[in-house]
């Protein structure tokens, strides 16, 4: 006979961090910080590839931007369409203060854990 029900196990778990960032999310947010102002998929991908040396699939950039927006860390709007018949508008993103905060807390968590280890920053 099991000792505890599913409900009990869930109830006793520590509260979850409200915003956690995955690695790709951190990369995208950092790239947006570097780009300053409005950013969209092409330059974001370029910056990450150039400065971090990580080549991301194009599709995953879009997915990540979607997810960040849903988490409330970035906001998007449609740009002006290209000046031609049937010209296309583009979704452009701007990082929100909460995004910056989340990035900071993620960095701090990594730093705290790394402190005193061989990968930790020298103090």
């Amino acid at each position: 006979m099991p000792e505890a029900s599913y409900g009990n196990i869930v109830a006793n778990m520590p509260p979850r961090d409200p915003v956690r960032l995955g690695e790709v999310e951190q990369l995208v947010l950092l790239a947006m910080l570097r780009l300053e102002g409005d950013a969209y998929a092409v330059p974001i991908r370029d910056v990450i590839e150039r400065d971090a040396g990580v080549a991301l699939a194009r599709g995953s950039i879009y997915i990540t931007l979607d997810r960040l927006e849903r988490k409330g860390l970035v906001e998007s709007r449609m740009s002006e369409p290209t000046p031609e018949p049937g010209g296309k508008a583009r979704r452009v993103f701007r990082i929100r203060p909460s995004g910056v905060a989340a990035l900071r807390s993620a960095r701090r968590a990594v730093d705290r854990l790394a402190a005193g280890t061989i990968v930790g920053r020298k103090v």
């Binding site: 006979m1 194009r58 879009y62 997915i63 296309k88």
Partner: protein, 895 residues
């Protein structure tokens, strides 16, 4: 620039939210790269597709991840399914019992539905867009009677109606056909068609070609044959096209084979195997080309039958008055006929076949519905017992936080799994049941059931039935079990609860109630069938065989026919074992009759009587053993084709009373006036004898109709020979066949059989109903007994300890046994009472279907009640005895 066309197409796969951005981004990227032309296009398309795929899968995963309640529901359903399958597999015997019980319950309903689905709803095979077909009939304003025949010129006039794409007509009849030279002739239904008729139907050729309008208009002796006949008679030989066959002694060339189509709608009697133009020598011989029998049209799309009717009215007006003379029998209406358009290809007016089948259907479905309910009650009971064993397990899960709904659901899933298995078995069983009905006629003028298809409707029906069943029988145990709480369940584990016991007793009561309802219905129907079989026909059909001849179709005319009839009778008389031979025309078992009006002389002021007339040979009354009450029978000399105008006549008792009252009828004269098929006869007849009344014709329930027998003027078309012999019917028929073959090897004998069987064929509905309800009631009884057995066995198993203690304390085995049996008697009595009440309510439905017995016949009801109590007790007996055999020491060690 929006990129190449292929790329624009590929980009459309990307969700709208990102579509334009992706397009712009990719174009920007490709512009920066050194890709050009086709290379660039290929790269763009590949990238667009890959992004689209990635977005689609990820967004699905995100969506799923955002809905933990859905994911949890799916997980728990998976868990339920696993538990259900484990439970099904771990209790194979109990599962098998459940599956068999349910499958039996469901199979009857499925079989009934399959049969009626076949007859009522099956689309006509081999026909295109049959929903646009319409059949044209002609009826007076009071809609009675319905004329099927119309003058041929009317067809041309009616074609001016724009409601129809095309109109065609046909006449069909049975003709002797020789498929291969040297083969025996066989009667085949041949449809003679006007131009466009086959186009209207929209049939397709399987081989060769169809009749073209040119064949029909110029009257070529060409024929197309049905696929069925092609396979059966010609072995599906492709070289049959171009071959000549003999139809009614004329040659005709086969030009094609019609795919699948086998004649009119499902209710049509006999299927058509040959189609040929109406204006041919064969057609002129067999049917009158100046009249057409079946008028079929293909409606223009969107046109209703009401519009079509309206449009036909004006062009038909000139022919309205001529319809009267075309009508061959039945009461005549004075109102002019108007065209009536019925949707589809249904033959109507044949003694209301649709009405009959419409009555039969709910009845059969109701009976099988009761059986299903019974199966559900039984299964609920079995499942309840099964659930009780798992009460502890359920209580533990409940204590661990599983909600009541959660527990109920897991039991429902288990029920659904069992139903799914049972439904599959039920469809198989239903197929078996339907196989039994193969060749049975569902109603007396209907076609024999063959190749009843299990189409998607039947499967859908079984699935819906299964879903209802799962809820019905799964819900009760689920709700009951989910009520158990931890302390109660643990405290009571292994022992019965009062409420659980009461519930199961109630279910047994319900089962017995349903079983007694079905048994009572079956009992009443079987008694009614016996009554009908044993009804005093006024004659003795045992030892008599009958058969028909159709010499006119072979071209016999006038005196030839007469000679043939005499020759046949003479030769038959001298055959071994034959006692008497008789001829009658029309057959007393023919559905139709030739009406005549009769007045006693002196005719002034005498009442007119409508009677049926039959021409009979001298030995008719002796052969069928119809008693001669007064006067004499006919003599051999009187039986002539062209007798004197003032002939002799014999009347039935009831007619004699109607005509003359009490004074003797023999020696009186009557004036007869008769018109049929365009001819009219008036003559005076002298009554030479009075014979007993016979029941004949369609309805064995009706008292014998007033009959006038004459010795002259035989009409061969519905005639019949009767042979009374001392030898078995099969031998007598073989002798008859040989005799006829000796006279004319081309002459087939038709409708041959023992007269007793012939009479049985007049009551097919009663037979089918009694068979159906009898079978259902039998299954119901078996299920009921199985239910009783299961419940008692379970009770005994639960109370083993109690019995052990009681026996150890010195209780008499008898007392224990009676105590257990009492557990059956109470629900049995309650069930019986409810069942009988239910039956009393439902018996109104039976009232019109039973003969010579009240639908609430006390003897039947009493005997089925006693029967059911006895079998219920028998079902309880074995497990109850087990209770008395309990060894106290063993019982106390249990648990």
């Amino acid at each position: 620039m929006n990129g190449p066309l292929l790329f624009r197409g590929a980009v459309r796969l990307v969700p709208r939210r990102w579509r334009d951005s992706v397009a712009r981004d990719l174009l920007e990227d490709v512009a920066r790269s050194n890709r050009t032309g086709a290379h660039a296009t290929a790269w763009l398309v590949a990238q667009a597709v890959s992004i689209a795929l990635r977005l689609a899968t990820r967004s699905m995963a995100d969506w799923w991840g955002d809905r933990p309640d859905w994911r949890r529901a799916a997980d728990s359903l998976r868990l339920d399914l696993r538990l259900a399958l484990r439970s099904v597999a771990h209790q194979p015997w109990s599962t098998a019992a459940l599956v068999v019980t349910l499958a039996l319950g469901m199979s009857a309903g499925t079989a009934v539905f399959a049969v009626f689905n076949h007859v009522l709803f099956r689309p006509i095979p081999g026909i295109d867009a049959s929903d646009r077909l319409a059949t044209v009939y002609f009826q007076p304003a009071d809609r009675h009677p319905t004329y099927k025949t119309a003058p041929r010129e009317a067809l041309d006039a009616l074609r001016s109606a724009r409601a129809f794409d095309a109109l065609g007509a046909s006449s069909d009849t049975e003709l002797p056909v020789v498929a291969r030279s040297g083969a025996d002739p066989d009667f085949v239904r041949v449809e003679f068609v006007t131009d466009r008729y086959l186009d209207v139907l929209g049939v397709r050729p399987r081989a060769g070609r169809l009749l073209i309008d040119d064949d029909v208009v110029t009257g070529q002796s060409v024929a197309v044959i049905s696929e069925r006949w092609w396979r059966r008679e010609l072995g599906a030989d492709p070289s049959a096209i171009g071959q000549s066959i003999t139809i009614n002694r004329h040659p005709a060339v086969i030009v094609g084979v019609v795919a699948d189509y086998r004649g009119w709608g499902a209710l049509r009697i006999g299927s058509i195997d040959i189609w040929m133009p109406i204006d041919t020598p064969i057609g002129e011989d067999a049917v009158s080309p100046d009249r057409v029998f079946s008028l079929v049209g293909r409606l223009r799309p969107g046109v209703t039958t009401a519009i079509a009717e309206q449009q036909l009215r004006v062009p038909f007006a000139p022919y309205a008055s001529s319809m009267r003379t075309l009508m061959s029998m039945g009461p005549l209406s004075t109102a002019p006929a108007v065209p009536v358009v019925y949707p589809g290809l249904y033959e109507i007016g044949e003694e209301g076949t649709r009405r009959e089948i419409g009555q039969l259907y709910p009845f059969a479905l109701g009976a099988s519905g009761l059986l299903l309910l019974l199966g559900c009650a039984n299964t609920a009971n079995l499942l309840l017992a099964r659930t009780m064993k798992r009460r502890r397990d359920l209580a533990v899960r409940s204590a661990m936080g599983a909600s009541r709904w959660r527990l109920a659901r897991s039991l429902l899933v288990e029920a659904a799994a069992i139903v799914a298995i049972a439904a599959a078995v039920a469809v198989g069983l239903a197929r078996g049941l339907v196989w039994f009905t193969q060749g049975e006629q569902l109603f007396d003028s209907g076609p024999a059931l063959d190749s009843v298809a299990f189409d998607w409707r039947v499967l859908a029906f079984a699935v819906v039935l299964g879903a209802i069943t799962a809820v019905l029988f799964g819900l009760v145990p689920a709700l009951t079990a989910s009520r158990s709480t931890m302390p109660r369940a643990l405290a009571q584990s292994g022992r019965s609860t009062r409420s659980g016991h009461r519930l199961r007793a109630t279910l047994v009561g319900v089962q017995l109630a349903l079983a007694v309802t079905l048994l009572a219905g079956a009992g009443v129907l079987v008694r009614s069938l016996q009554n009908l079989r044993g009804v005093d026909l006024g004659m003795n059909p045992d030892g008599v065989v009958s058969f028909g001849l159709n010499p006119m179709r072979l071209g016999y005319k006038g005196d030839d026919v007469d000679a043939l009839v005499r020759d046949t009778m003479d030769r038959l008389r001298s055959a071994a074992g034959v006692e008497a031979v008789a001829f009658a025309s029309p057959s007393p078992f023919w559905r139709g009759f030739i009406p005549a009006s009769l007045k006693a002389e002196p005719t002034d002021g005498a009442l007119e009587h409508r009677v049926s007339t039959t021409v009979v040979s001298a030995d008719y009354f002796r052969t069928l053993q119809i008693p001669v009450r007064a006067g004499r029978a006919f003599t051999e000399a009187e039986f002539q084709r062209d007798g004197p105008k003032a002939g002799a006549g014999i009347v039935s008792e009831s007619l004699a009373r109607q005509l003359f009252g009490d004074p003797p009828a023999v020696g009186r004269r009557v004036y007869l006036s008769q018109s049929a098929r365009g001819w009219r006869v008036d003559r005076t007849i002298e009554i030479v004898g009075v014979v007993g009344d016979t029941r004949s014709g369609v309805d064995l329930r009706a008292p014998g109709r007033p009959a006038l027998y004459e010795p002259t003027g035989a009409n061969m078309s519905a005639s019949v020979f009767f042979v009374r012999s001392r030898i078995p019917p099969a031998q007598a028929l073989a002798a008859a066949r040989t005799t006829v073959q000796q006279i004319d090897p081309n002459l087939p004998i038709a409708d041959a059989g023992a007269l007793r069987d012939e009479i049985d064929r007049l009551i097919p509905e009663e037979r089918v109903l009694a068979l159906l309800l009898g079978g259902v009631a039998l299954i119901a009884t078996v299920l009921g007994v199985a239910g009783v057995h299961a419940v008692i066995a379970h009770t005994v198993a639960e109370r083993t300890r109690e019995f052990g203690i009681r026996l150890a304390l010195g209780a008499a085995r008898r007392t224990v046994l009676l105590g257990v049996l009492r557990g059956v008697v109470v629900p049995a009595i309650g069930g019986l009472a409810c069942g009988l009440a239910l039956f009393a309510g439902a018996s109104r439905l039976l009232a019109s279907r039973v003969y010579g017995v009240s639908p609430t016949d006390l003897v039947t009801l009493a005997s089925v009640s006693v029967l059911l109590v006895v079998v219920a007790l028998a079902g309880a007996w074995l497990p109850a005895r087990r209770a008395t055999r309990v060894d106290p020491a063993v019982a106390l060690r249990v648990e």
